[in-house]
């Protein structure tokens, strides 16, 4: 189920372009590198691009502005890269239209996981993932996909590990459907140290411990021999 696609890497660091390009190609993606805004626009005009990886610090133009400009004409998913924590708030807080972000230094596997997650969501939503909004609500809980933050019905922030977040996001994107362990594994790919089914079961039980309470004792139901089923209704806002 690996999502292969055409990825445009926009970064002024030649080594990052080369290394990330090689790594993504090895993982089945087609990669076009771009050094600056001009090369980025040329590549976008040259052919269909499935995803843009955009560095915030570019010579001559701010990645934030470029992201906004792309969004004016296209729904292409965008992952922002930044080396400054202070820029995270602007990526998240401003309506610049980025789908996800990564703070340097990130591991190649982290990048791959984010790319897969964004591409998968994009495909599930039929090409316009952003139109649906970034808040997912269920049983009084809210998951803010832009801030990667879960709040409980009383409004308190509930911390999730990266694996738990990905798992919950997969459930919320496929509510009231039976999801196989394979499907869930793919969603959490490259996240867990081991790739066995057992790892998914552990993740599910950890997630349950954080979201299931006396009022909602069984949000995630186990489907014997198959996988899991997320019971509550999910609403996007």
């Amino acid at each position: 189920m690996t999502s292969e696609g055409h990825i445009l890497i926009v970064d002024d660091d030649a080594e990052i372009r080369r290394l990330a390009g090689r790594f993504l190609r090895e993982n089945g993606h087609r990669v076009t590198p771009a050094r600056d805004a001009r090369e980025m626009w040329e590549a976008l005009e040259a052919g269909p691009v499935d995803l843009v990886i955009l560095d915030v610090m570019l010579p001559g133009a701010s990645g934030l502005d470029l992201c906004r400009e792309i969004r004016r004409t296209s729904h292409v998913p965008i992952i922002m890269l930044t080396a400054r924590d202070s820029e995270v708030d602007r990526i998240v807080g401003l309506e610049i239209g980025a789908d996800d972000y990564l703070v340097k230094p990130f591991s190649p596997r982290e990048l791959l996981a984010r790319i897969h997650a964004v591409l998968r969501r994009m495909r599930m939503a039929g090409g316009t993932p952003r139109a649906a909004g970034h808040l997912l609500r269920f049983s009084g809980w809210t998951l803010d996909t832009r801030r990667r933050e879960l709040t409980n019905p009383e409004g308190a922030v509930v911390d999730l590990s990266t694996g738990e977040y990905d798992l919950l996001l997969t459930f919320l994107e496929n509510p009231q459907k039976v999801l196989s362990r394979d499907h869930l594994m793919d969603a959490a790919k490259n996240r867990t140290p081991t790739g066995f089914d057992r790892a998914i079961d552990i993740q599910v039980s950890r997630l349950r411990r954080k979201i299931e309470r006396r009022e909602d004792p069984e949000m995630v139901k186990t489907v014997r021999g198959t996988g899991y089923f997320f019971a509550p209704e999910v609403e996007r806002a």
């Binding site: 660091d13 080594e15 990052i16 290394l19 990330a20 090689r22 790594f23 080396a83 400054r84 924590d85 202070s86 708030d89 703070v103 340097k104 230094p105 990130f106 591991s107 190649p108 933050e149 409980n152 009383e154 409004g155 308190a156 922030v157 509930v158 911390d159 999730l160 590990s161 738990e164 140290p193 950890r206 411990r209 954080k210 309470r213």
Partner: protein
């Protein structure tokens, strides 16, 4: 004495009182001196007039009646007698009283003082010729004998009692001086207390600010000197803040710039075929990343603009403990179902993660326990390690302090873990304390307020 005069107000009062008293005494002395010489002049003129009148009168009456008339004219400071001979110079035999006799015994009559009296008399009464006046001084300093030659050659001898004019209110000037001194003291104390009030306010304000809190500029009000001081102080404060900001920016820039090469290293790592080498290098890079993150986190400090939100501590602790277990480490958590505090997720997570990592690194195992007590969330992180020597318990909260030997070799890091944790907890209005347990091992206790 130095301590008593320590305050500016006291010194001002002392200076004012001393100054006023000196000026007052000097002017008092000058004034009395002037009054004195004026009175002396008046006195002398009157004497001279009286002497002249006596002389004229005696010259008009027959010699037989002269002694009687002279006696009649005597009075006050003057005692006049008539004689054929000049007795001041001659001495005994004069019809004068015993004092006159003693006066006659006096050493040479032309003493400077008597000379001066003679000269003065001649000046005041020009009709007394130079040879007509003889002044003799007695042993008694209050007595002078003046001899005036009448036209017929007989002498009018007048004894002058030097009646010193009564001193002009000696007690009065002491009283007025003390009263004035007291008044000046009170007034100058009041004035200087008022004058130094802005200074005291300034000191209080500077001292009252927490050492690491940004100091608001001092208001530049009050008298000019205080305004200048406040201005200079604000300038210095701005320069210090600017210096720190520039250093912080430089250090932050280096730390930020390290992130790009570290990202490259992460990618290069993927190309290393030998799993052992790759794992070892991954661990090295991970350690470097941790140091950079710790340094950046320390430098950011309160500048971190993360908003305070209602935050459930239990899932946060669960995430950290699960993560430690995934890494094959021994960590346990004892906590209620939920415990919400107002907090910053990233900052608190980093703080508690540092405490947990310390416990795991030095103690091998960590036991976390969360409870609620009197409106506080109390978290303890206990390990079974060697603890920290009592005398170093406070020092380990300082930045870049690492303990010697066994405790520091176990982990990487730059000695910022506890510093960052302490700063984050304090920024939440909480406290962090370290204690060695009697049975061994270290317990870190974090208290966070449940309401803001």
């Amino acid at each position: 004495m130095i301590r008593v005069l320590d305050s500016l107000a006291a010194r001002t009062a002392v200076v004012a009182v001393l100054g006023i008293v000196v000026v007052h005494l000097a002017s008092l002395w000058t004034y009395e001196h002037a009054i004195e010489s004026e009175r002396h002049a008046v006195h002398a003129t009157r004497l001279a007039d009286q002497l002249v009148v006596m002389k004229r009168t005696l010259a008009l009456v027959p010699p037989a009646e002269r002694e009687g008339v002279a006696h009649d004219l005597s009075g006050g400071a003057l005692d006049a007698h008539w004689s054929r001979e000049q007795i001041t110079a001659r001495g005994p035999g004069a019809p004068a009283a015993s004092e006159a006799g003693r006066a006659a015994d006096a050493p040479p009559p032309q003493a400077p003082a008597t000379n001066a009296l003679a000269a003065e008399l001649r000046t005041l009464a020009p009709e007394l010729g130079a040879s007509d006046v003889v002044v003799g001084a007695g042993a008694d300093p209050h007595l002078a004998v003046v001899g005036l030659r009448l036209p017929d050659g007989s002498w009018l001898n007048v004894r002058l009692f030097a009646t010193a004019p009564p001193p002009a209110g000696g007690h009065g000037s002491v009283l007025s001086t003390s009263l004035m001194a007291a008044g000046v003291l009170l007034l100058s104390l009041a004035i200087s207390v008022w004058l130094t009030r802005p200074l005291r306010a300034m000191a209080k304000r500077v001292a009252g600010t927490a050492p690491d809190a940004p100091l608001a500029p001092l208001p530049e009000t009050g008298p000019r000197e205080v305004r200048e001081l406040a201005h200079a102080f604000n300038g210095m404060q701005a320069r210090i803040a600017d210096l720190i900001a520039r250093r912080t920016r430089a250090l932050a820039a280096v730390s930020h710039d390290l992130r790009t090469p570290m990202t490259r290293l992460r990618f290069r790592l993927e190309e290393i075929p030998e799993p052992d080498l790759r794992a070892a290098m991954a661990a090295d890079i991970g350690e470097m990343e941790q140091m950079v993150e710790a340094t950046l986190s320390y430098l950011r400090g309160d500048a971190e603009a993360e908003p305070v939100r209602a935050l459930d501590l239990v899932p946060l602790l669960t995430t950290l403990v699960d993560d430690a277990r995934d890494r094959g480490l021994s960590a346990t958590l004892e906590a209620p179902a939920t415990l919400v505090v107002p907090g910053r997720l990233v900052a608190l997570k980093r703080a508690i993660s540092n405490l947990l990592d310390n416990a795991l690194a030095y103690g091998g195992a960590a036991r976390l326990s969360l409870s609620e007590a009197d409106g506080w969330a109390v978290l303890t992180v206990a390990d079974d390690g060697p603890g920290i020597p009592e005398e170093q318990l406070a020092a380990v909260l300082e930045p870049f302090v690492r303990l010697e030997a066994s405790r520091s070799r176990a982990t990487g890091g730059v000695g910022l873990g506890l510093t960052i944790a302490d700063a984050a907890i304090r920024a939440h209005g909480g406290t962090l304390s370290l204690a060695n347990r009697p049975q061994g091992g270290l317990t870190v206790t974090v208290r966070l307020p449940r309401t803001r």
